[in-house]
Protein backbone atom coordinates (compact mmCIF):
# COMPACT_ATOMS: atom_id res chain seq x y z
CA UNK A 1 0.00 0.00 0.00
CA UNK A 2 2.76 2.36 1.00
CA UNK A 3 4.66 1.42 -2.15
CA UNK A 4 1.57 2.23 -4.15
CA UNK A 5 1.37 5.65 -2.51
CA UNK A 6 5.08 6.23 -3.15
CA UNK A 7 4.57 5.30 -6.80
CA UNK A 8 1.70 7.77 -7.10
CA UNK A 9 3.83 10.46 -5.44
CA UNK A 10 6.73 9.68 -7.78
CA UNK A 11 4.43 9.80 -10.78
CA UNK A 12 3.08 13.18 -9.61
CA UNK A 13 6.60 14.54 -9.10
CA UNK A 14 7.70 13.26 -12.51
CA UNK A 15 4.61 14.76 -14.14
CA UNK A 16 5.19 18.09 -12.39
CA UNK A 17 8.87 18.23 -13.36
CA UNK A 18 8.01 17.21 -16.92
CA UNK A 19 5.42 20.02 -17.01
CA UNK A 20 8.02 22.48 -15.66
CA UNK A 21 10.56 21.38 -18.30
CA UNK A 22 7.93 21.82 -21.02
CA UNK A 23 7.01 25.26 -19.70
CA UNK A 24 10.69 26.34 -19.54
CA UNK A 25 11.26 25.02 -23.06
CA UNK A 26 8.21 26.93 -24.33
CA UNK A 27 9.42 30.15 -22.66
CA UNK A 28 12.93 29.69 -24.08
CA UNK A 29 11.44 29.09 -27.53
CA UNK A 30 9.31 32.23 -27.27
CA UNK A 31 12.27 34.36 -26.08
CA UNK A 32 14.43 32.90 -28.85
CA UNK A 33 11.81 33.76 -31.46
CA UNK A 34 11.49 37.34 -30.11
CA UNK A 35 15.28 37.78 -30.19
CA UNK A 36 15.43 36.45 -33.73
CA UNK A 37 12.69 38.86 -34.86
CA UNK A 38 14.46 41.72 -33.09
CA UNK A 39 17.75 40.94 -34.89
CA UNK A 40 15.97 40.29 -38.19
CA UNK A 41 14.24 43.71 -38.02
CA UNK A 42 17.57 45.44 -37.51
CA UNK A 43 19.14 43.37 -40.30
CA UNK A 44 16.37 44.42 -42.71
CA UNK A 45 16.95 48.08 -41.78
CA UNK A 46 20.68 47.61 -42.35
CA UNK A 47 20.11 46.02 -45.77
CA UNK A 48 17.76 48.84 -46.79
CA UNK A 49 20.33 51.39 -45.65
CA UNK A 50 23.09 49.61 -47.52
CA UNK A 51 20.93 49.42 -50.65
CA UNK A 52 20.11 53.15 -50.38
CA UNK A 53 23.83 53.89 -50.01
CA UNK A 54 24.59 51.68 -53.02
CA UNK A 55 22.02 53.52 -55.18
CA UNK A 56 23.53 56.84 -54.11
CA UNK A 57 27.03 55.60 -54.93
CA UNK A 58 26.27 54.26 -58.41
CA UNK A 59 24.41 57.40 -59.48
CA UNK A 60 26.96 59.95 -60.79
CA UNK A 61 24.67 62.80 -59.70
CA UNK A 62 24.73 61.65 -56.04
CA UNK A 63 27.98 59.74 -55.72
CA UNK A 64 29.52 62.56 -53.64
CA UNK A 65 27.10 61.56 -50.89
CA UNK A 66 28.16 57.91 -50.82
CA UNK A 67 29.50 58.31 -47.28
CA UNK A 68 25.92 58.23 -46.06
CA UNK A 69 26.05 54.45 -46.55
CA UNK A 70 26.61 52.01 -43.70
CA UNK A 71 30.19 50.96 -44.52
CA UNK A 72 31.73 54.50 -44.33
CA UNK A 73 29.58 55.17 -41.26
CA UNK A 74 30.79 52.06 -39.42
CA UNK A 75 34.36 52.94 -40.38
CA UNK A 76 33.91 56.47 -38.94
CA UNK A 77 32.54 55.28 -35.59
CA UNK A 78 35.86 53.91 -34.17
CA UNK A 79 37.59 57.16 -35.19
CA UNK A 80 34.91 59.29 -33.53
CA UNK A 81 35.03 57.14 -30.40
CA UNK A 82 38.83 57.30 -30.26
CA UNK A 83 38.73 61.07 -30.63
CA UNK A 84 36.13 61.17 -27.82
CA UNK A 85 33.69 63.07 -30.03
CA UNK A 86 30.76 60.70 -29.60
CA UNK A 87 31.25 60.49 -25.81
CA UNK A 88 31.51 64.29 -25.47
CA UNK A 89 28.42 64.87 -27.62
CA UNK A 90 26.40 62.20 -25.77
CA UNK A 91 27.47 63.53 -22.38
CA UNK A 92 26.58 67.15 -23.20
CA UNK A 93 23.27 66.29 -24.83
CA UNK A 94 22.52 63.82 -22.04
CA UNK A 95 23.08 66.54 -19.45
CA UNK A 96 20.72 68.92 -21.27
CA UNK A 97 18.11 66.22 -21.74
CA UNK A 98 18.41 65.03 -18.12
CA UNK A 99 18.15 68.55 -16.71
CA UNK A 100 15.17 69.39 -18.94
CA UNK A 101 13.43 66.14 -18.05
CA UNK A 102 14.09 66.62 -14.34
CA UNK A 103 12.49 70.08 -14.45
CA UNK A 104 9.55 68.63 -16.40
CA UNK A 105 9.07 65.84 -13.83
CA UNK A 106 9.46 68.10 -10.78
CA UNK A 107 6.95 70.60 -12.19
CA UNK A 108 4.73 68.13 -14.05
CA UNK A 109 3.87 65.69 -11.24
CA UNK A 110 2.51 68.28 -8.74
CA UNK A 111 0.63 70.07 -11.53
CA UNK A 112 -0.79 66.73 -12.69
CA UNK A 113 -1.84 65.81 -9.13
CA UNK A 114 -3.49 69.21 -8.72
CA UNK A 115 -5.20 68.76 -12.07
CA UNK A 116 -6.50 65.35 -11.04
CA UNK A 117 -7.60 66.33 -7.52
CA UNK A 118 -9.00 69.87 -7.87
CA UNK A 119 -11.98 70.50 -10.10
CA UNK A 120 -11.50 74.28 -9.82
CA UNK A 121 -7.86 74.04 -10.89
CA UNK A 122 -8.81 71.66 -13.71
CA UNK A 123 -11.43 74.06 -15.04
CA UNK A 124 -9.25 77.12 -14.59
CA UNK A 125 -6.20 75.60 -16.23
CA UNK A 126 -7.87 73.73 -19.07
CA UNK A 127 -7.91 76.48 -21.69
CA UNK A 128 -4.48 78.03 -20.92
CA UNK A 129 -2.84 74.59 -20.76
CA UNK A 130 -4.38 73.42 -24.01
CA UNK A 131 -3.34 76.68 -25.69
CA UNK A 132 0.26 76.62 -24.44
CA UNK A 133 0.58 72.89 -25.10
CA UNK A 134 -0.19 73.42 -28.79
CA UNK A 135 2.69 75.88 -29.25
CA UNK A 136 5.63 74.09 -30.85
CA UNK A 137 8.42 73.93 -28.25
CA UNK A 138 10.96 75.17 -30.80
CA UNK A 139 8.98 78.35 -31.34
CA UNK A 140 9.96 79.35 -27.80
CA UNK A 141 13.64 79.40 -28.87
CA UNK A 142 13.95 83.14 -29.69
CA UNK A 143 12.31 84.04 -26.38
CA UNK A 144 14.41 81.48 -24.48
CA UNK A 145 17.61 82.93 -25.97
CA UNK A 146 16.64 86.39 -24.75
CA UNK A 147 15.51 85.23 -21.30
CA UNK A 148 18.38 82.85 -20.50
CA UNK A 149 21.97 84.01 -20.17
CA UNK A 150 23.41 80.85 -21.76
CA UNK A 151 22.45 78.65 -24.70
CA UNK A 152 22.58 75.71 -22.36
CA UNK A 153 19.86 77.27 -20.22
CA UNK A 154 17.75 78.01 -23.28
CA UNK A 155 18.01 74.43 -24.57
CA UNK A 156 17.16 72.96 -21.16
CA UNK A 157 14.15 75.28 -21.03
CA UNK A 158 12.97 74.12 -24.48
CA UNK A 159 13.25 70.47 -23.46
CA UNK A 160 11.41 71.14 -20.20
CA UNK A 161 8.62 73.00 -22.03
CA UNK A 162 8.24 70.13 -24.47
CA UNK A 163 8.48 67.35 -21.87
CA UNK A 164 6.28 68.76 -19.12
CA UNK A 165 2.93 68.11 -20.85
CA UNK A 166 3.14 64.33 -21.16
CA UNK A 167 4.09 64.17 -17.46
CA UNK A 168 1.25 66.51 -16.43
CA UNK A 169 -1.47 64.74 -18.41
CA UNK A 170 -0.28 61.20 -17.64
CA UNK A 171 -0.21 62.04 -13.91
CA UNK A 172 -3.71 63.55 -14.05
CA UNK A 173 -5.03 60.61 -16.08
CA UNK A 174 -3.50 58.18 -13.57
CA UNK A 175 -5.15 60.01 -10.70
CA UNK A 176 -8.52 59.86 -12.43
CA UNK A 177 -8.24 56.05 -12.37
CA UNK A 178 -7.40 55.87 -8.66
CA UNK A 179 -10.09 54.17 -6.58
CA UNK A 180 -11.59 56.94 -4.37
CA UNK A 181 -12.16 54.31 -1.68
CA UNK A 182 -8.37 54.12 -1.14
CA UNK A 183 -8.48 57.69 0.15
CA UNK A 184 -11.41 56.85 2.44
CA UNK A 185 -9.59 53.78 3.77
CA UNK A 186 -6.35 55.72 4.23
CA UNK A 187 -8.18 58.53 6.06
CA UNK A 188 -9.84 55.92 8.24
CA UNK A 189 -6.40 54.49 9.08
CA UNK A 190 -5.15 57.90 10.14
CA UNK A 191 -3.41 59.16 6.98
CA UNK A 192 -2.34 62.80 6.98
CA UNK A 193 -2.39 64.78 3.69
CA UNK A 194 1.35 64.07 3.28
CA UNK A 195 0.71 60.32 3.62
CA UNK A 196 -2.02 60.58 1.00
CA UNK A 197 0.51 61.95 -1.49
CA UNK A 198 3.54 59.80 -0.67
CA UNK A 199 1.93 56.49 0.31
CA UNK A 200 -1.29 56.40 -1.66
CA UNK A 201 -1.27 58.73 -4.66
CA UNK A 202 2.34 58.34 -5.84
CA UNK A 203 2.54 54.54 -5.62
CA UNK A 204 -0.93 54.22 -7.13
CA UNK A 205 -0.03 56.32 -10.17
CA UNK A 206 3.67 55.48 -10.50
CA UNK A 207 2.90 53.39 -13.58
CA UNK A 208 1.16 56.36 -15.24
CA UNK A 209 3.90 58.79 -14.21
CA UNK A 210 6.58 56.55 -15.71
CA UNK A 211 4.52 56.19 -18.89
CA UNK A 212 4.36 60.01 -19.01
CA UNK A 213 8.12 60.22 -18.42
CA UNK A 214 8.67 57.76 -21.28
CA UNK A 215 6.60 59.93 -23.60
CA UNK A 216 8.36 63.05 -22.28
CA UNK A 217 11.74 61.44 -22.95
CA UNK A 218 10.73 60.83 -26.55
CA UNK A 219 9.51 64.39 -27.01
CA UNK A 220 12.56 65.83 -25.24
CA UNK A 221 14.91 63.75 -27.36
CA UNK A 222 13.19 64.97 -30.54
CA UNK A 223 13.41 68.63 -29.44
CA UNK A 224 17.03 68.33 -28.26
CA UNK A 225 18.65 67.82 -31.65
CA UNK A 226 17.11 70.76 -33.55
CA UNK A 227 17.58 72.95 -30.46
CA UNK A 228 21.31 72.18 -30.61
CA UNK A 229 21.52 73.15 -34.28
CA UNK A 230 21.70 76.80 -33.32
CA UNK A 231 24.08 78.70 -31.09
CA UNK A 232 25.84 75.95 -29.16
CA UNK A 233 29.17 74.34 -29.98
CA UNK A 234 28.60 70.98 -28.36
CA UNK A 235 26.11 68.12 -28.29
CA UNK A 236 24.70 65.68 -30.81
CA UNK A 237 22.71 68.31 -32.75
CA UNK A 238 25.77 70.52 -33.06
CA UNK A 239 27.91 67.55 -34.16
CA UNK A 240 25.47 66.81 -36.99
CA UNK A 241 25.38 70.45 -38.09
CA UNK A 242 29.17 70.61 -37.88
CA UNK A 243 29.59 67.41 -39.94
CA UNK A 244 27.26 68.83 -42.58
CA UNK A 245 29.28 72.08 -42.75
CA UNK A 246 32.53 70.13 -43.19
CA UNK A 247 30.90 67.70 -45.67
CA UNK A 248 31.86 64.76 -43.40
CA UNK A 249 28.80 62.70 -44.28
CA UNK A 250 30.17 59.57 -42.64
CA UNK A 251 30.55 61.50 -39.36
CA UNK A 252 27.08 62.97 -39.83
CA UNK A 253 25.49 59.54 -40.28
CA UNK A 254 27.50 58.13 -37.37
CA UNK A 255 26.08 60.86 -35.13
CA UNK A 256 22.55 60.26 -36.45
CA UNK A 257 23.04 56.56 -35.69
CA UNK A 258 24.28 57.47 -32.18
CA UNK A 259 21.11 59.52 -31.62
CA UNK A 260 19.00 56.55 -32.67
CA UNK A 261 20.90 54.09 -30.47
CA UNK A 262 20.88 56.40 -27.42
CA UNK A 263 17.18 57.13 -27.85
CA UNK A 264 16.46 53.42 -28.19
CA UNK A 265 18.46 52.61 -25.02
CA UNK A 266 16.74 55.37 -23.02
CA UNK A 267 13.28 54.33 -24.20
CA UNK A 268 13.96 50.67 -23.46
CA UNK A 269 15.24 51.58 -19.97
CA UNK A 270 12.02 53.50 -19.35
CA UNK A 271 9.95 50.55 -20.58
CA UNK A 272 11.85 48.26 -18.19
CA UNK A 273 11.25 50.65 -15.29
CA UNK A 274 7.54 50.76 -16.14
CA UNK A 275 7.41 46.97 -16.15
CA UNK A 276 9.36 46.79 -12.88
CA UNK A 277 7.15 49.28 -11.03
CA UNK A 278 3.78 48.37 -12.48
CA UNK A 279 1.46 46.84 -9.89
CA UNK A 280 -1.20 45.99 -12.47
CA UNK A 281 -1.57 42.22 -12.68
CA UNK A 282 -2.79 40.82 -15.94
Amino acid sequence: MSNGKADVANTDTTAASSQAVKSTAATAKSVGKSLFNWAAGLAILLVLWWFGGYLIEINPATTNFKDFGPIPTFKAIPYLLEAGKIQAAVFTSGYRLGAGLLIAIVCGIPIGILLGRSKVFRELSNSPFQLIRMISPLSWEPIAVIVFATWNGAIIFLIAVAAVWPVVFATAAGLAKVDPAWFKVARNLGAKPWHMVTQIILPAILFDILTGVRLALGVGWIVLVPAEFLGVTSGLGYSIADARETLSYDHLTAMVLTIGIMGYILDSSCAMLIKRYSWHHS
Partner: protein, 274 residues
Amino acid sequence: MENRSGVQISIKDLTHRYTARSPITFDKVNVSADPGEALVIIGRSGCGKSTLLHILAGLLDKTSGTVQIDGKDVTAPSSRWIMMFQAPHLFPWMTVEQNVGTGLRFARWPEDKIKNRVNEVIGLVHLEEFARNNTQDLSGGQQQRVALARSLVMEPDMLLLDEPFSALDAFTRATLQKDVRAISKQLGVNLVMVTHDIDEAVIMADRALVMAGSPGKIVHDFKVDLDDPRERQDPTVQEMRARLMQIFHEAAGTPAASDDEDSDAATEAELVGN
Protein backbone atom coordinates in the same frame (compact mmCIF):
# COMPACT_ATOMS: atom_id res chain seq x y z
CA MET B 1 -2.81 41.46 21.13
CA GLU B 2 -4.10 43.12 24.26
CA ASN B 3 -7.77 43.00 25.09
CA ARG B 4 -9.57 46.26 24.43
CA SER B 5 -12.16 47.89 26.60
CA GLY B 6 -14.65 48.67 23.82
CA VAL B 7 -16.57 51.93 23.70
CA GLN B 8 -19.80 53.45 24.93
CA ILE B 9 -21.80 54.62 21.91
CA SER B 10 -24.42 57.31 22.29
CA ILE B 11 -26.38 58.62 19.29
CA LYS B 12 -29.16 61.09 20.07
CA ASP B 13 -31.74 62.63 17.72
CA LEU B 14 -29.42 62.13 14.76
CA THR B 15 -30.77 63.52 11.49
CA HIS B 16 -29.06 63.56 8.12
CA ARG B 17 -29.62 64.93 4.66
CA TYR B 18 -26.92 65.07 1.99
CA THR B 19 -27.68 68.61 0.81
CA ALA B 20 -30.18 71.25 1.87
CA ARG B 21 -32.38 70.29 -1.09
CA SER B 22 -32.11 66.52 -0.82
CA PRO B 23 -34.65 64.50 1.19
CA ILE B 24 -33.94 63.57 4.80
CA THR B 25 -31.98 60.28 4.86
CA PHE B 26 -32.99 59.42 8.42
CA ASP B 27 -34.67 61.36 11.17
CA LYS B 28 -34.09 61.55 14.92
CA VAL B 29 -32.25 58.26 15.27
CA ASN B 30 -31.32 57.22 18.80
CA VAL B 31 -28.88 54.40 19.50
CA SER B 32 -26.80 53.46 22.49
CA ALA B 33 -24.44 50.55 23.03
CA ASP B 34 -22.30 49.32 25.87
CA PRO B 35 -18.58 48.53 25.61
CA GLY B 36 -17.90 45.28 23.73
CA GLU B 37 -21.45 45.02 22.40
CA ALA B 38 -22.14 43.87 18.82
CA LEU B 39 -24.86 45.87 17.03
CA VAL B 40 -26.17 44.88 13.62
CA ILE B 41 -28.32 47.33 11.69
CA ILE B 42 -30.66 45.74 9.15
CA GLY B 43 -33.07 47.35 6.76
CA ARG B 44 -34.03 47.83 3.14
CA SER B 45 -31.73 49.66 0.71
CA GLY B 46 -31.99 53.42 1.01
CA CYS B 47 -33.14 53.58 4.63
CA GLY B 48 -29.83 55.23 5.59
CA LYS B 49 -28.04 52.49 7.50
CA SER B 50 -24.72 52.91 5.64
CA THR B 51 -24.96 56.67 6.06
CA LEU B 52 -25.47 56.18 9.80
CA LEU B 53 -22.33 54.01 9.91
CA HIS B 54 -20.28 56.58 7.97
CA ILE B 55 -21.36 59.32 10.40
CA LEU B 56 -20.44 57.11 13.36
CA ALA B 57 -17.01 56.56 11.73
CA GLY B 58 -16.50 60.31 11.34
CA LEU B 59 -16.30 59.94 7.56
CA LEU B 60 -19.50 61.93 6.95
CA ASP B 61 -20.95 65.05 8.61
CA LYS B 62 -24.27 64.86 10.42
CA THR B 63 -27.05 67.40 9.85
CA SER B 64 -28.24 67.59 13.46
CA GLY B 65 -28.18 65.62 16.68
CA THR B 66 -25.26 64.22 18.62
CA VAL B 67 -22.92 61.29 18.05
CA GLN B 68 -20.68 60.50 20.99
CA ILE B 69 -18.18 57.78 21.68
CA ASP B 70 -17.13 57.52 25.31
CA GLY B 71 -18.81 60.88 25.92
CA LYS B 72 -16.85 62.72 23.20
CA ASP B 73 -18.36 64.08 19.98
CA VAL B 74 -17.32 62.25 16.82
CA THR B 75 -16.15 64.82 14.28
CA ALA B 76 -13.41 62.96 12.37
CA PRO B 77 -12.09 59.43 11.76
CA SER B 78 -9.97 57.98 14.54
CA SER B 79 -7.68 55.00 14.88
CA ARG B 80 -9.89 53.92 17.83
CA TRP B 81 -12.66 52.94 15.42
CA ILE B 82 -11.93 51.47 12.02
CA MET B 83 -14.37 50.85 9.21
CA MET B 84 -14.42 47.87 6.85
CA PHE B 85 -16.22 48.32 3.57
CA GLN B 86 -18.21 46.11 1.20
CA ALA B 87 -15.07 45.64 -0.94
CA PRO B 88 -11.73 45.17 0.82
CA HIS B 89 -10.15 48.14 -1.03
CA LEU B 90 -6.65 46.83 -0.43
CA PHE B 91 -3.70 48.75 -1.82
CA PRO B 92 -2.74 46.56 -4.80
CA TRP B 93 0.87 47.74 -5.01
CA MET B 94 1.54 46.30 -1.55
CA THR B 95 1.99 42.81 -0.18
CA VAL B 96 -0.33 41.42 2.48
CA GLU B 97 1.95 42.44 5.34
CA GLN B 98 2.52 45.91 3.88
CA ASN B 99 -1.25 46.40 3.59
CA VAL B 100 -1.79 45.28 7.16
CA GLY B 101 0.91 47.63 8.46
CA THR B 102 -0.36 50.71 6.60
CA GLY B 103 -2.07 52.34 9.59
CA LEU B 104 0.94 51.74 11.82
CA ARG B 105 3.24 53.39 9.28
CA PHE B 106 0.88 56.38 9.22
CA ALA B 107 1.20 56.47 13.01
CA ARG B 108 5.01 56.37 12.65
CA TRP B 109 5.58 53.18 14.57
CA PRO B 110 9.17 51.85 14.50
CA GLU B 111 9.66 49.20 11.80
CA ASP B 112 10.50 46.35 14.22
CA LYS B 113 7.33 46.96 16.24
CA ILE B 114 5.27 47.16 13.04
CA LYS B 115 6.68 43.80 11.95
CA ASN B 116 5.84 42.11 15.25
CA ARG B 117 2.32 43.50 15.41
CA VAL B 118 1.62 42.72 11.75
CA ASN B 119 2.77 39.10 12.16
CA GLU B 120 0.57 38.74 15.22
CA VAL B 121 -2.55 40.01 13.46
CA ILE B 122 -1.87 38.06 10.26
CA GLY B 123 -1.79 34.97 12.48
CA LEU B 124 -5.11 35.96 14.01
CA VAL B 125 -6.81 35.96 10.59
CA HIS B 126 -4.97 32.79 9.46
CA LEU B 127 -3.01 34.30 6.58
CA GLU B 128 0.55 33.47 7.68
CA GLU B 129 1.46 31.64 4.48
CA PHE B 130 0.30 34.55 2.31
CA ALA B 131 2.06 37.33 4.24
CA ARG B 132 4.47 38.15 1.41
CA ASN B 133 2.03 37.66 -1.45
CA ASN B 134 0.68 40.52 -3.47
CA THR B 135 -2.95 41.06 -2.48
CA GLN B 136 -4.06 40.72 -6.10
CA ASP B 137 -3.09 37.04 -5.91
CA LEU B 138 -5.58 36.33 -3.11
CA SER B 139 -9.19 35.17 -3.26
CA GLY B 140 -12.07 37.49 -2.29
CA GLY B 141 -12.35 35.91 1.16
CA GLN B 142 -8.60 36.15 1.77
CA GLN B 143 -8.62 39.79 0.67
CA GLN B 144 -11.42 40.54 3.13
CA ARG B 145 -9.35 38.82 5.84
CA VAL B 146 -6.45 41.16 4.96
CA ALA B 147 -8.84 44.12 5.30
CA LEU B 148 -9.90 42.76 8.70
CA ALA B 149 -6.26 42.40 9.76
CA ARG B 150 -5.54 45.92 8.52
CA SER B 151 -8.34 47.17 10.78
CA LEU B 152 -7.42 45.02 13.79
CA VAL B 153 -3.74 45.96 13.69
CA MET B 154 -4.69 49.43 14.88
CA GLU B 155 -6.08 47.87 18.06
CA PRO B 156 -9.39 49.64 17.61
CA ASP B 157 -12.03 49.73 20.32
CA MET B 158 -14.75 49.48 17.70
CA LEU B 159 -15.06 47.84 14.27
CA LEU B 160 -17.56 49.35 11.84
CA LEU B 161 -18.57 46.93 9.12
CA ASP B 162 -20.43 48.10 6.03
CA GLU B 163 -21.72 44.87 4.48
CA PRO B 164 -18.17 43.53 4.31
CA PHE B 165 -19.13 39.98 3.35
CA SER B 166 -21.83 40.67 0.77
CA ALA B 167 -19.55 40.05 -2.21
CA LEU B 168 -18.27 36.70 -0.90
CA ASP B 169 -19.48 33.19 -1.60
CA ALA B 170 -21.78 31.63 1.02
CA PHE B 171 -19.15 29.33 2.54
CA THR B 172 -16.49 32.02 2.93
CA ARG B 173 -19.11 34.43 4.25
CA ALA B 174 -20.27 31.99 6.93
CA THR B 175 -16.68 31.33 8.05
CA LEU B 176 -15.81 35.02 8.21
CA GLN B 177 -19.02 35.91 10.09
CA LYS B 178 -18.11 33.47 12.85
CA ASP B 179 -14.42 34.46 12.82
CA VAL B 180 -15.09 38.20 13.04
CA ARG B 181 -17.54 37.78 15.90
CA ALA B 182 -15.14 35.44 17.72
CA ILE B 183 -12.19 37.83 17.24
CA SER B 184 -14.21 40.86 18.36
CA LYS B 185 -15.39 39.02 21.48
CA GLN B 186 -11.87 37.72 22.14
CA LEU B 187 -10.44 41.26 21.90
CA GLY B 188 -13.41 42.93 23.61
CA VAL B 189 -14.10 45.43 20.81
CA ASN B 190 -17.50 46.79 19.79
CA LEU B 191 -18.97 45.72 16.47
CA VAL B 192 -21.37 47.90 14.54
CA MET B 193 -22.41 46.25 11.31
CA VAL B 194 -24.78 47.05 8.47
CA THR B 195 -26.27 44.18 6.51
CA HIS B 196 -29.19 43.06 4.37
CA ASP B 197 -28.86 39.50 5.56
CA ILE B 198 -31.00 38.37 8.51
CA ASP B 199 -28.90 35.22 8.97
CA GLU B 200 -25.82 37.38 9.26
CA ALA B 201 -27.54 39.57 11.85
CA VAL B 202 -28.48 36.52 13.96
CA ILE B 203 -24.98 35.02 13.73
CA MET B 204 -23.13 38.24 14.54
CA ALA B 205 -25.30 40.48 16.70
CA ASP B 206 -25.88 40.95 20.39
CA ARG B 207 -28.61 43.37 19.32
CA ALA B 208 -30.22 43.81 15.90
CA LEU B 209 -31.56 47.27 15.10
CA VAL B 210 -34.25 47.23 12.41
CA MET B 211 -34.35 50.38 10.28
CA ALA B 212 -37.30 51.15 8.05
CA GLY B 213 -39.22 53.98 6.41
CA SER B 214 -38.25 56.98 4.41
CA PRO B 215 -36.79 58.97 6.06
CA GLY B 216 -35.32 56.03 7.95
CA LYS B 217 -35.94 55.36 11.61
CA ILE B 218 -34.91 52.63 13.98
CA VAL B 219 -38.21 50.86 14.50
CA HIS B 220 -37.10 47.91 16.57
CA ASP B 221 -34.24 47.04 18.90
CA PHE B 222 -34.05 43.24 19.06
CA LYS B 223 -31.87 41.40 21.56
CA VAL B 224 -30.18 38.35 19.99
CA ASP B 225 -29.72 36.36 23.13
CA LEU B 226 -27.77 33.31 21.92
CA ASP B 227 -24.71 31.47 23.09
CA ASP B 228 -21.50 31.29 21.07
CA PRO B 229 -20.48 29.72 18.79
CA ARG B 230 -23.64 30.13 16.73
CA GLU B 231 -24.42 27.63 14.01
CA ARG B 232 -26.96 28.36 11.30
CA GLN B 233 -28.67 24.98 11.58
CA ASP B 234 -29.01 25.25 15.37
CA PRO B 235 -32.75 25.29 16.27
CA THR B 236 -32.31 28.26 18.64
CA VAL B 237 -30.62 30.22 15.84
CA GLN B 238 -33.40 29.23 13.44
CA GLU B 239 -36.02 30.33 15.95
CA MET B 240 -34.28 33.66 16.53
CA ARG B 241 -34.03 34.15 12.79
CA ALA B 242 -37.76 33.53 12.34
CA ARG B 243 -38.59 36.04 15.08
CA LEU B 244 -36.31 38.66 13.60
CA MET B 245 -37.78 38.04 10.17
CA GLN B 246 -41.28 38.55 11.54
CA ILE B 247 -40.23 41.76 13.27
CA PHE B 248 -38.66 42.98 10.07
CA HIS B 249 -41.80 42.35 8.06
CA GLU B 250 -44.00 43.99 10.68
CA ALA B 251 -41.74 47.03 10.69
CA ALA B 252 -41.59 47.21 6.92
CA GLY B 253 -45.32 46.61 6.58
CA THR B 254 -44.78 43.68 4.22
CA PRO B 255 -46.41 40.22 4.46
CA ALA B 256 -44.24 37.60 6.14
CA ALA B 257 -42.65 35.07 3.77
CA SER B 258 -44.07 31.55 3.70
CA ASP B 259 -41.89 28.62 4.75
CA ASP B 260 -41.09 27.82 1.13
CA GLU B 261 -40.01 31.33 0.39
CA ASP B 262 -38.11 31.60 3.59
CA SER B 263 -34.81 30.73 2.04
CA ASP B 264 -31.58 32.68 2.17
CA ALA B 265 -32.03 33.95 -1.35
CA ALA B 266 -35.62 35.05 -0.76
CA THR B 267 -34.67 36.73 2.50
CA GLU B 268 -31.90 38.73 0.92
CA ALA B 269 -33.89 39.65 -2.16
CA GLU B 270 -36.77 40.93 -0.02
CA LEU B 271 -34.55 42.94 2.25
CA VAL B 272 -32.61 44.42 -0.63
CA GLY B 273 -35.96 45.46 -2.01
CA ASN B 274 -35.27 44.16 -5.51
